[in-house]
Symmetry: C2
Subunit: 403 residues, 2 copies
Amino acid sequence: MDWCSKFCSSSGHKINPPAGWKDHNFSADEPLMPWFGIDIGGTLVKLVYFEPTDERVNSVPEAETTRKIRHYLLSKTAYGDSGVRDVNLQLEDQKINGRTGTLHFIRFPTSSMPGFIALTKSKGLAPNSSTVCATGGGAHKYDSACQSLSLKFKKMDELHTLISGIQYILKQNSLEAFYYTDPLNNETCKSEFLTSRVDPPYLVVNVGSGVSILAVAEDHSFRRVSGTSLGGGTFHGLCCLLTGCETFEQALELASLGENNKVDKLVGDIYGGDYAPFNLKASTVASSFGNMIHPDKQKQTTKEDLASSALVSITYNIASLSFLCARIEKLKTILFVGNFFRINSISMRHIAHALAYWSENKVKALFMRHEGYFGAVGCLLNLTSADGSDNVEETNRDLPSKN
Amino acid sequence: MDWCSKFCSSSGHKINPPAGWKDHNFSADEPLMPWFGIDIGGTLVKLVYFEPTDERVNSVPEAETTRKIRHYLLSKTAYGDSGVRDVNLQLEDQKINGRTGTLHFIRFPTSSMPGFIALTKSKGLAPNSSTVCATGGGAHKYDSACQSLSLKFKKMDELHTLISGIQYILKQNSLEAFYYTDPLNNETCKSEFLTSRVDPPYLVVNVGSGVSILAVAEDHSFRRVSGTSLGGGTFHGLCCLLTGCETFEQALELASLGENNKVDKLVGDIYGGDYAPFNLKASTVASSFGNMIHPDKQKQTTKEDLASSALVSITYNIASLSFLCARIEKLKTILFVGNFFRINSISMRHIAHALAYWSENKVKALFMRHEGYFGAVGCLLNLTSADGSDNVEETNRDLPSKN
């Protein structure tokens, strides 16, 4: 329908396989080492580092700065107070830009970005004339600070890098996409890797601080079809306010110990039991946080219950929006990505359950091992490419701004 | 698509004009006075009372109980601590069940329902063998308590009564549906009554404690196409927790004084300015409550800001879901009803703005003066009818229950 042009993208964005992906032979354009892709998001910085492991490592001398960087990153798995290398996600034998090597995955809070830049300067870890490809909002916000590192700072559009990162990882790694069977049964629930290939068309639901929903067509073009500001940042922010917790991990831990049905108004609270005519069970949530208008019920809830309610409500809302978008786009596969799903099996299982139930098992919810790292991977692949850089001209609008 | 049968209703529910509406002449089936319709919702009880004003008032003697009830209800506009008669909504010269009279609109909290039943008993206000038509979850929950009043208690399905109430009020009253022009401009914003008739097809978005979204077809049949547990109860409940307020009115007052952009993570917080390639302004909300993960930003926010963020996030989410449903159902008129909109011009104006913006003015958001009373009106109309009673057999499932 033509009247949705401002809600979703007016025209498709085309993804061509980025240079780093299609070019597995030695390339005259091979970028100078070290190779990084970095996605500076609203909450987390995701950094992907390529460590060459092929025979050319021994024949080509390594620059001093490159050696220092490699040593600094790989000699530990934690950096400062809050930087972490996700060793379990490491991918060996990756062929990129004509080289073979290992992909390392590192994350730290975006609030540490100024400290990260200062450290890079003070330790002499910014090699002259090397290129860093960056995406995410912070690539713009920290643009001038990064330029001061005297390396080439190439900004990429975050949705382009997201989609090309997903497509690369899915193609190169068979143990990536997984799904749940019997998702809400604690005894029989299992997650299993998808053995068949995942090719477009599919819907991509990227849940970071906020949520973007993209439809990827068979020809790999994509459009941003919807989104919501109720995302991982909402869950984390509400938990900080309601429970006094600090980290996302603490918020998730609290949620896993609570009972949302003390906080939410259930069908049973309103109907006194099931609502049989419309097949609504007594345990169905009618109004999230709806019981908190009663002081006596407020007194009976714990911070764990409140965290559980925040998680369940945000999760079902994402599932619901995704399902409506899948119907509009006539898609039967939904890939859920983004750091909201890190160590968050509660949300994945609820989403898997909701989509299977609503669609009578006709829509498949897939989750991805590398959760929030696809944008950074897409950046790395685009080191030698001009594709997907930030000179995108298509019109695409999200929620209207208030002002 | 056939795989959405559990998300939305599998088959249409047909609304025939209820008996009370089509029958404007004296009817042998005329129910005994007094005539009430009552909608016992998750948070509020909505009661509609028909006061006959035609010439037959003088010729037919009034039963003692009926006189007492009329006197009790119409001699005041407030009942107990929290019951209110909305005098401004009163409708004169309404023709129902062969009689002409005035419709009175009364509401009180559902938590006062046991007190209401006790009062009715103790004051002898429950006339023997009179019928009360009731809907909403409480019609089931308080079924046996109401049966003890020795009046006939007829339970109606709440979505049927909602739709027939809307259709009656729209047909009988020209000053009902209104819309906003220039909704977010404080100086030029105006609300105006729609002068043309509102006929189906349209989408009905009913926002009470939770949200139901119904598609009404040209032939007046309807299906529940979606819903969310993030509704008025979520806004009110979150405000009770975050600000210590008690009533919905207090929560709205706080929200009207706050600035959500201190609480939410905006595009500008992430990008350092506008995100030009996708036309996202710096002031667009990227993540509701997203700034609350930073202790320093938490300290800078007031309870008014938190209430504003709760209201804006719930409101845009409702607008977004409604817009997606309108696209799926190919509808260009959306009626927003339910008590969430009572004295809540903030939400109405934001919804009007969002839908006009996303659809480039092709989807019209209409609001209704009688906000949350349509279910109760539908009950009154069905006093002499078997239509829409609770023996609905169609399958319709909402969010899957957790257990």
